[in-house]
């Protein structure tokens, strides 16, 4: 993992002091709420329905066990004993007090964390493949470049008041676990014909009320040119992005209105001026950062006991099937910890659970934890012979639900239960669906099915890219839910299509059941829900839901 040096420590410390002073000036009345709002947002402090919500950055979703312990401490000391992991690999504390916020930031700084730019019209936390560094087919660890981007974008003097928020995601693998095509900028590490490593640069993806899949504006960018190219994109956007209408201010609208080709030309013209004079790092600095992500020293592992357990304990084997992924190192495994137990709020973890995960990371995963954009946790370096004991430990903490990638592994935004923007609730819908499909055998039979729920058109619950997407809409004070089908966030990213009129809150869960039934009747061989949908199209699903009118 990256560790702060004296410069990083000083910057984060200065930022805490600066924010403490801003809070002081707000509380003594020298700053009005209108003046303070942009300042608190630059530090991830929102005012939500019930309280201030603090969003803490988890850079590219990587946490040490020590950092996880601090998050648990904050949950317990300053909040109500739990936190919410988000679709951008961050964590939110829902019940913080303004007067405590500077102390929370000071506590975070002790473990090299911060809340800088987790809100506001800034470059937000860069997200990454949660299997970075351990995925078998990876070209290079994307976190090296995420850390480079983190530093470059932090308190960037030119890009702290963009037309709208700005999200970057990086993957180093073919299989896209970072949803790079639905980000403002998606970067995929590629190797060109000569074997050189660089990036495919995709721009203008996003969800919200105008979902779009990012367009590739450069097939191959040499990796040492990354920052000057990003600066060129951001400068074009900062100057030309729309500021007259906040719903048209994201870069996707600029790319769409100009056309990807014109946008590309403008970026290339700006880059031509910047590539030699811009912010590119020297090789020695890239090497310094890269060294933090060198693979750990793995041991020789004898996996015989693990193989035996797989035969002896079917429940364990089921968990392995969904929650354990192949590691690039023989004898090791990548373990996903589901934060979607039956009937709970997706992505929530209690302080006790966070501490337990920190313990497990220390005992079994070289102190390392990842957060996924699907709102789960990952232990990236587990020796196969430790899997059984880890699984037993996770079970004691209600963290061993064997549902990764299945229908109850639901992404859901906080919805109207917490969020000031939401118009309908999403957590209770997720809870009801997860109870309906509580039978894990049935879930395993249904197989991979990505269900995502948003409580309003801002689409924080990623419903546009769910195999089944559910969007809450308010109709004269009643909660209704619209279904989209066929969305995907993977390397074949697609926006789901609306299937028909919305369902009442009472009927939405039955509608999901109906969709699953149609799929089970129609599927061939090993087709997943989304494969069957793509083969047979909307009609059978539509007829089952609405009759053949």
């Amino acid at each position: 993992m990256y560790r702060y040096d004296a410069y990083d420590t000083q910057l984060v410390g200065e930022r805490v002091t600066q924010f403490r002073d801003q809070v002081r000036r707000r509380l003594d009345g020298s700053l009005s709420e209108d003046e303070f709002r942009p300042l608190r947002l630059l530090n991830g402090l929102y005012l939500q329905l019930h309280a201030y919500m603090l969003r803490v950055a988890i850079p590219y979703g990587t946490l040490s066990s020590e950092q996880m312990r601090m998050l648990a401490h904050i949950a317990r000391r300053y909040d109500k004993g739990y936190g919410h992991f988000t679709t951008r690999q961050n964590i939110q504390f829902n019940w913080t007090r303004l007067e405590d916020a500077p102390d929370i930031l000071a506590d975070l700084a002790k473990v090299e964390m911060h809340a800088i730019q987790t809100s506001g019209n800034t470059i937000r936390n860069t997200t990454a493949d949660p299997f970075a560094g351990v995925a078998a087919e990876e070209i290079e660890d994307p976190r090296i470049y995420c850390e480079i981007i983190r530093q470059w974008s932090t308190l960037h003097p030119e890009f702290s008041f963009l037309p709208r928020k700005f999200k970057i995601a990086v993957t180093g693998a073919r299989e896209d676990r970072a949803a790079v095509r639905v980000h403002d900028i998606g970067l995929a590490i590629r190797r060109d014909n000569s074997g050189e490593v660089g990036f495919e640069v995709m721009v203008g993806g996003g969800q919200g009320r105008t979902p779009m899949i990012a367009k590739t504006i450069r097939e191959f960018l040499p990796k040492d040119q990354l920052l000057s190219y990003l600066e060129a994109i951001l400068r074009v956007y900062n100057l030309a992005g729309r500021r007259d209408n906040k719903y048209k201010a994201r870069i996707k609208i600029l790319v769409h209105e100009l056309g990807a080709e014109t946008f590309h030309e403008q970026v290339e013209a700006e880059w031509a001026q910047l590539r030699d004079a811009g912010p590119n790092l020297q090789a020695v600095e890239i090497a310094r950062i890269a060294a933090f992500f060198d693979p750990p020293r793995y041991e020789e592992v004898d996996s015989a006991s693990y193989q035996a357990k797989l035969f002896q304990d079917r429940t364990f084997a089921d968990w392995v099937r969904t929650n354990v992924a192949p590691h690039k190192q023989d004898g090791y495994a990548i373990v996903s910890i589901s934060l979607k137990p039956e009937g709970e709020a997706p992505g929530d973890a209690t302080a006790a659970q966070m501490e337990a995960v920190a313990d497990f990371a220390e005992r079994y995963s070289l102190q390392e934890i990842r957060v996924t954009h699907e709102q789960n946790l990952v232990l990236p370096h587990v020796r196969q012979p430790d899997l059984y004991a880890l699984w037993q430990g996770l079970r004691d903490q209600e963290l061993a639900t064997a549902n990764i990638g299945l229908i109850s592994d639901i992404i859901a935004c906080p919805g109207l239960d917490y969020c000031g923007l939401a118009t309908t609730r999403s957590i209770p819908v997720a809870q009801r669906i997860s109870r309906l499909f509580a039978n894990l055998d049935r879930q395993h039979d249904i197989g991979e099915l990505r269900l995502k729920i948003s409580g309003c058109i801002n689409a924080c619950g990623h419903h546009h890219v769910g195999h089944i997407g559910i969007l809450g809409v308010d109709r004269k004070g009643e909660e209704y839910y619209q279904i989209t089908l066929g969305g995907r966030a993977d390397e074949n990213a697609a926006i789901g299509k609306i299937i028909g009129p919305a369902f009442s809150s009472a009927n939405i869960v039955d509608a999901v059941e109906t969709l699953v039934t149609v799929y089970l009747e129609r599927r061939r061989d090993h087709e997943r829900f989304v494969d069957t949908y793509e083969r047979v199209g909307q009609t059978p699903f539509k007829e089952a839901l609405y009759g053949s009118r």
């Binding site: 707000r26 303004l98 709970e344 709020a345 109207l416 239960d417 209770p428």
Partner: protein, 105 residues
């Protein structure tokens, strides 16, 4: 005629608050000063604005309430959730703003 009350969030901790008959702020919606005319509603909102200037609350606004047994209850779902806390599995006792509500056994 609309029956209304004034709500806001407290500056210091962001908690939901309702303007009371005494001119204070209470976390309980039942304590709300309820009015039934537009003139009274404007007067109520004006007095809430003084609490903004005094750094007590942020962004006060009027909400519609029912006032059946002399205790106000918001009409909209959003305001009901603000008044009572999140629905779903998290316990939302009226005074549930302090304790750790989601302990693991």
């Amino acid at each position: 005629m609309k029956t209304q009350a004034v709500t806001a969030n407290l500056l210091v901790d962001g908690r939901v608050a309702f303007l009371t008959w005494e001119g204070d702020w209470s976390e309980k919606v039942e304590d709300s000063h309820v009015v039934t005319s537009n003139e009274e509603a404007e007067w109520l909102l004006d007095s809430a604005q003084r609490a903004v200037s005094a750094q007590v609350v942020i962004d006060p606004y009027l909400i519609e309430v029912s006032d059946s047994n002399g205790s106000a209850w918001p009409l909209s779902r959003r305001e009901q959730i603000r008044a009572a806390g999140p629905t779903g599995t998290i316990d939302t006792a009226p005074d549930g703003l302090t304790a750790g509500l989601k302990q693991v056994a």
